[in-house]
Each structure stands twice: as C-alpha cells, then as structure tokens.
C-alpha cells in the first residue's frame, strides 16, 4: 500500500494524469445521471436529511425533558418521605421511653398532642408524594410520542435507501445482480406507496409546533372545535 503510494507521488506527471481522469469520470457520471433523471432522485434523498435531523432533535429533546421531569419529581418527593420517616421514628422512640418508665402524666399528655399533630400532617404529605408519582408516570408519555417519530424516521431512511438503490441500479451492468437489486427496489416501492396512501391524516407528533395548519396547544384544539360548533 505505502509502496504504491510512493510510486504515485514519485511521478508528478502520472499524478496529474490521475486527477484529470477522476475529473473526467466525475463529469461523465454527473452527465449520465442527469440524462437518466437520477440527479432528481439523489436530490430527493438529500432533502430527506434535514427532516430526519429535525426528527432526531425532537426525540433528543423529548427524552431529555422526560428524564428531567421524572428526576425533579423524585427530588420533590424524597424530602416528604424522609420527613414522614423521621417524624414516625422520633415519636416511636419517645413512646418507647415512656412505656419503659411511665412517670409524669404531663409528659404523656404532651406526647399524645405531638402524636396527633404528626398524624394530622401525614395525609397531606402522602398526597403530595402521590402527586409526584403521578407526575413521574405522566413523564413516560415520551415513549409514545418519540416512538411515533422514530417510526417515521425509519420510513425516511427506507425512502433514502430506495432512491440510492435506484441510482446504483442504473449504474450496474445487466445481469443477475441487477435483477436482484431491481426486485429489492420494487418491494420497497410497493411498501412506500402503501404507506403514503395511508398517511394523509396520520403524521404523528408535530416536531415543529409553529408550522402552518397545526395546533400547538389543547386550548387551540378547543377553540377550533368551538368555532366549528362542536
């Protein structure tokens, strides 16, 4: 390999020749692609990339938000749990001491008041913990939303593959290989067509909420339904 490289660099004339030949080949390829209409196919494949990037961005930000939402809820719930545990433990110890040596009635009265106070505070803390658990559960809705976007991404990737196959197909000489490739592409095309037919009203989550004809909040949905008289 390095020997080859040396022999190429050692001959400047040969090098120029090579560059020129690559240039000619590139021009030939581009011209024949244009003649066959393949440049449009490649263009379409290239256009799918920014869309795929936007979708991946959506997935990244949704998963990040979900993780943060769940972690924040845990951060809020843990102190409540700690407080309940500490309160119960402290009271339990005090009662144990009193039972071992039941002396003053005043002490017992104070302990009863303290215990009642604690019991009174538990339901509110438990309710708040439950609220945080619900929040953690709701944060999992990202799985559905990103799942739908990822499914769309796979369709985009298949479409790109189909278009690139088309380009390849035209540049492969006639023969078994070309037949096999053609068959594979036909399968893809049929699948894509079926999916496109179904699409229409099934676009999944909107990755750009400020797009045209898109509602970005539940309020907008409600307003639209009101407008329509539903």
């Amino acid at each position: 390999m390095s020997g080859e490289a040396r022999s190429v660099t050692s001959e400047a004339g040969h090098n120029d020749d090579l560059v020129q030949r690559i240039g000619q080949l590139t021009r030939m390829l581009r011209e024949s692609m244009r003649e066959l209409g393949l440049d449009k196919e490649v263009e379409k494949a290239a256009e799918a990339i920014p869309d795929a990037r936007a979708r991946l961005n959506y997935v990244a930000s949704m998963t990040e938000q979900a993780a943060e939402r769940a972690l924040n809820a845990v951060d809020r719930a843990q102190p409540l749990q700690d407080e309940m545990e500490r309160g119960a433990q402290a009271l339990d110890e005090k009662w144990q001491t009193w039972f071992q040596q039941p002396l003053e009635m005043d002490d017992a009265r104070e302990l009863v008041t303290e215990t009642r106070h604690y019991l009174g505070s538990v339901p509110a803390m438990a309710r708040n913990t439950s609220k945080e658990l619900l929040e953690i559960m709701m944060a999992q809705d990202f799985q559905d939303l990103t799942g739908q976007v990822i499914k769309k991404m796979m369709e985009v990737i298949q479409e790109v593959e189909r278009q690139l196959l088309q380009v390849l197909l035209e540049s492969v000489p006639e023969g078994d290989e070309r037949e096999a490739m053609r068959e594979r592409m036909n399968n893809r095309t049929a699948e894509d067509a079926r999916r496109r037919e179904q699409a229409g009203l099934m676009n999944g989550p909107q990755i750009k909420p400020d797009g045209e004809d898109i509602v970005s909040s539940q309020d907008q949905v409600d307003d639209l339904l009101d407008e329509l008289g539903f």
């Binding site: 559960m137 939303l145 676009n203 004809d213 898109i214 970005s216 639209l224 339904l225």
Partner: protein, 128 residues
Amino acid sequence: MDKGMSILVVDDFPTMRRIVRSLLKELGFTNVEEAEDGQEALTKLKGGGFDFVVSDWNMPNLDGLEMLKQIRADESMKSMPVLMVTAEAKKDNIVAAAQAGANGYIVKPFTAVTLEEKLNKIFEKLGK
C-alpha cells in the same frame, strides 16, 4: 357521572395505555379495559358492555378515525361516546374527527387535568 362505567382504552403503545388507565383510576374510574388497535377495539365493543371509548388515532390494522366511523355506522353502538387522545395536531385532523362524530379531542402530550375536564364536558353534554 357513573364512576363504575366500563371504559375501553385503545392505543397501540402499551405505555400510553398504562398512562391513560392510571389517570382514569386516579379520577375514580376502575372499570377499564384495553385494546391495541381499532380492529381489536371493534371486536370488544361488539361484544357489548362498554359505556365509553378513549382512543388514539394512528394505529396499525384499523386507525382511530376509521374505527370511529364504523362505530357511528353500527346501529348497536352508534351513540357510544368516543374521546380521541392523539398526537395528530393538524387542523384537518380535528375537523375530520369532529365530522366523524368524536365527542372530544385531546392532543398529546396532555395533562391529568385536561383529561378530567374533557370527560366532565362530554358527560355534561350527554346529560349523565
């Protein structure tokens, strides 16, 4: 509103079915069944015994809109209340769902408060 009513939750994502089921439980509805697409839902609905449907839109086999149309076209269940809960957020979607006879439309992601509001509104309208 009868909290003992039988509710069918239709969604192809198990996570979302669990979330909706838990939210309904939180709101006091414990009689909840699940279906993973419109086709399975229709089969269950035809079996009878359901009072309410909460459905996704984009599902394999039979999507939510098509399922809604078939419910409305079926004499035995045409008055079944159906609440759409979906990520589809185009104006065309909302119009199509309303025209097909959806009783409510919630866009994902949604909150527990939104679900409660819409349920109340639907039953208020139905006079239950």
